[in-house]
């Protein structure tokens, strides 16, 4: 669906393949043949969005319904934005090429706090007023979902509603109810009142935040019918839930360019820093029969040469080795590789990896997160020192040539010694491998900064102050500089700081987002676009101290801006986990 203006535009931008659609398995429906039209908006580049499994699941589950259609739109890169603005060409959906304004619903997938400015930019590029109160009956309903909707307050004034939790079953039902209500002639406001009684629906404009002495103190409801608390939706049984076996196959290379079968959802480990481990509870498994059937269909309908068995911790699937055997049999002779992401660091995982990588054994990736056993106990990552050595030496024996290890700094109770232990661990592992006769094992070390997230047991904890984060990074930089055999990278401290500000932000941050966007902030998660000085300008202009958000320590009694949004884990359970974290006896030093 490319007209002549768009063709001229596409000739001037990089990777026009991001904007043309028409991929294999994309779904083209006539707008006048359905009752309701939705566009699924992903506030990042096509390559990133098309690697997101949630997008593919929802695309499938909504398009399955004959009364509904769902198309896709991604954030245009800077060069495309420039062209669109210059030509006055509105942001459009890939399938039909129609502007976003021609749809009944625009639904944003909110995966990452640093894509928020892109949300505003996409609305603006589509000619849609960014604030919900500025929109009328002729504008699409702007809705949001995904992990960030568990604390969407910084975005609240821009959205008409949020749908909490898993949406593959709940979203088509919500859309069907909208059809009925529209047929009954309900106004926008009446429609929102009606929808607010549905499970998982959060209409932010019905809740007015209150503040006392500069701090959030709770909500007052503006509409009596609005529920006091919103319970998330989740799929009871993965086997019967919709799952795409014919996902769109991109022409251009994407971040994860492969077929994906989700083998289970949720995580039984409960690491205390990890939001996903809590908001995706309970753990639900897909049966091995269903997995194999899905994998077979996926390969037949996409032509991919790799299938990934995804989950938050794939080696935890009961009987996963048996599953891999059966999958190998089912796909024999098709030249298909099988991969297992998110492996736990233990010997069992190494055995699994051996099974998957017949021959080609380059780098294995693990996330120990902390280098001392004490700190790993605090964060709930229960792997012992002995297990790490056992697993990695076994991997070296099996022929692996290197490891990529993820660590975090700034974790609660962390001291310099814990950070230095990362370097020590590398050094000692290298010694161990040398004794095994393997002198050239590659080490790739990646360091993230801890970001306290809503609904995790560490939601009350402060982020380590930026100067301290930078100091600890510097500590590592200096030590690793003398170890040229380690490839060392770290996350930008300012980016993680901003992520922390928004992860636990409240509604007062909305005007700040608008300001930052006006100052030119886009793609803040991309280091080549991120400009902290623009953000500083925005903070100053609005008189907001970002440290009040990122570095604040909450008490259990403090009202939290996301208290009314329920992810299925009781606050008491989080309190218990939080307490447990700090009752871990310190081996060395104090608890900080």
């Amino acid at each position: 669906m490319v007209d002549s203006t768009l063709e001229t535009i596409l000739n001037k931008v990089q990777k026009p393949g991001r904007y043309v659609g028409n991929e294999w398995n994309s779904c083209l429906k006539e707008h006048d043949q359905v009752q309701l039209r939705m566009v699924l908006a992903f506030p990042d580049l096509y390559e990133v969005g098309m690697s997101n499994q949630g997008i593919k699941i929802l695309y499938d589950s909504v398009n399955k319904d004959v009364d509904l259609l769902i198309e896709r739109v991604f954030a245009p890169a800077a060069d495309m934005e420039e062209q669109l603005r210059q030509e006055g060409y509105p942001l459009f959906a890939l399938e039909s090429g129609k502007p976003l304004n021609a749809f009944d619903i625009v639904g944003f997938s909110l995966q990452y706090e640093l894509s928020y400015t892109n949300v505003l930019n996409m609305l603006d590029l589509a000619g849609i007023p960014i604030y919900s109160k500025q929109r009328g009956d002729n504008h699409p309903l702007i809705i949001g979902g995904g992990p960030c909707s568990f604390n969407p307050e910084p975005l609240a004034p821009f959205f008409d509603l949020f749908l909490l939790g898993e949406a593959e079953e709940a979203l088509p039902l919500l859309l069907k109810e909208i059809i009925i209500n529209k047929q009954n002639g309900l106004t926008r406001e009446e429609l929102l009142v009606q929808l607010s009684s549905r499970q998982g629906v959060y209409v932010p404009s019905f809740y007015n935040p209150l503040y006392s002495s500069g701090r959030f103190s709770g909500f007052e409801k503006l509409i009596e019918q609005a529920p006091d608390a919103i319970e998330k939706n989740y799929v009871a049984d993965l086997d019967s839930a919709p799952y795409p076996t014919a996902p769109v196959v991109p022409y251009i290379q994407t971040a994860h360019d492969r077929a994906v079968v989700e083998i289970f959802r949720g995580c039984s480990r409960g690491c205390r820093f990890c939001q996903a481990g809590y908001i995706f509870k309970p753990v639900r498994r897909r049966s091995s029969e269903k997995i194999i059937e899905t994998a077979r269909d996926l390969i037949a309908l996409t032509g991919y040469d790799e299938i990934s068995l995804s989950s938050l911790s794939s080696s935890d699937y009961p009987g996963v080795d048996e599953l891999i055997n059966r999958l190998d049999e089912a796909l024999a002779g098709k030249g298909v590789r099988c991969s297992l992401p998110s492996l736990r660091l233990d010997s069992y995982a190494v055995t699994l990896a051996e099974k998957l990588h017949q021959g080609r054994r380059s780098t294995l990736t693990f996330a120990p997160e902390a280098a001392t056993e004490r700190l790993r106990k605090v964060i709930g990552k229960r792997i012992s020192e002995a297990e790490i050595y056992q697993a990695l030496t076994a991997a070296v024996t099996a022929g692996w040539q290197g490891f990529k290890l993820y660590f975090m700094i700034g974790l609660p109770t962390e001291e310099d010694a814990d950070v230095e232990a990362i370097v020590e661990l590398c050094r000692e592992l290298r010694q161990t491998f040398r004794r095994q006769g393997r002198h050239n094992i590659r080490f790739v070390i990646s360091i993230a900064t801890f970001v306290p997230k809503a609904h995790s047991p560490f939601q009350w904890e402060p982020q380590l102050s930026m100067p301290s984060v930078i100091r600890r990074q510097q500590l590592l930089i200096e030590k690793f500089r003398k170890m040229p055999w380690v490839e060392f990278s770290w996350h930008d401290a300012e980016t993680s700081f901003l992520e922390a500000v928004f992860a636990r932000g409240d509604r007062r941050l909305a005007p700040l987002l608008e300001k930052a966007w006006q100052l030119g902030c886009r793609f803040d998660g991309w280091s080549e676009h991120f400009s902290y000085s623009r953000w500083q300008k925005a903070f100053e202009a609005l008189g907001i101290n970002p440290e009040d958000y990122a570095n604040r320590s909450y008490s259990y009694a403090d009202p939290l801006p996301w208290d009314h949004l329920h992810c299925g884990v009781e606050k008491e359970a989080l309190v218990k986990e939080h307490r447990l974290a700090f009752s871990v006896p310190a081996e060395q030093g104090s608890e900080g």
């Binding site: 028409n22 294999w24 022409y251 032509g303 991919y304």
Partner: protein, 216 residues
């Protein structure tokens, strides 16, 4: 290429894979298209693990191809015959000037540049040698079999180029267009924009270039 590989995998054809730990489809294109060049037709060869009727291949694969890509023909060749990539000796490109404002002036300038280039005995193209820093120039004048302006005075200027191509060296149509532009720069400050299409491939038979066609 990725598109073709995936279409083939979706089809139920008996595909042959390369040996090794990372099996790949045995699919080769006669001469990969340079980035930014369009083509009307492309040639390639595919190995199968068992003999099938060409008509069956056409129907199975066509069902998996997106709109805009059509399988024109399938011919069985003996496994011993040399590969298409080894046979290809030259390629013919047609370049059209995009956004031509002063058409007749552009025609005159390009005509002049074409004669200059064709009259030259030597045209040197810098090429990085096998050792990193060593750069040697190669004379690409013998690589130009034909170069001419193919349009009237009022039409959008079009240049036809028949250039050496294939495994033992060749020259990109864009490099030649660069030379043209350098000879007779556009009166404006910007470089000329060309849209390039590959019209046909050639192979050498008895010392003469003959177009690669179906069944040849």
């Amino acid at each position: 290429m990725r598109l073709l590989q995936r279409a083939l995998r979706r089809s139920t054809l008996p595909l042959a894979y390369s040996q090794g730990y990372n099996p790949r489809l045995r699919l080769n294109l006669a001469l990969p298209l340079p980035l930014g060049v369009t083509a009307n037709r492309e040639y390639g060869e595919l190995y199968l693990s068992e003999k099938i009727d060409p008509a069956q291949l056409i129907s199975s694969l066509s069902a998996q191809l997106p709109a805009g890509l059509e399988l024109l023909g399938v011919f069985e060749v003996s496994a011993e015959s040399s590969s298409l990539a080894a046979l290809v000796a030259a390629a013919c490109y047609r370049a059209k000037l995009v956004d031509a404002k002063e058409k007749s002036l552009a025609v005159v300038q390009i005509e002049r540049a074409v004669s200059k280039l064709m009259a030259a005995e030597e045209l040197l193209m810098p090429r990085s040698g096998k050792k990193k820093k060593q750069i040697s120039d190669i004379n690409i004048r013998p690589y130009i079999f034909e170069l001419r302006l193919d349009s009237g005075l009022r039409a959008v200027p079009e240049v036809v180029m028949l250039l050496k191509a294939g495994s033992d060296g060749g020259v990109s149509p864009f490099y030649l267009l660069q030379l043209l532009d350098a000879c007779e720069p556009d009166c404006g400050s910007e470089a000329r924009q060309w849209s390039v299409e590959r019209e046909s491939l050639y192979l050498i038979s008895n010392g003469a270039l003959i177009p690669l066609t179906e069944g040849a």
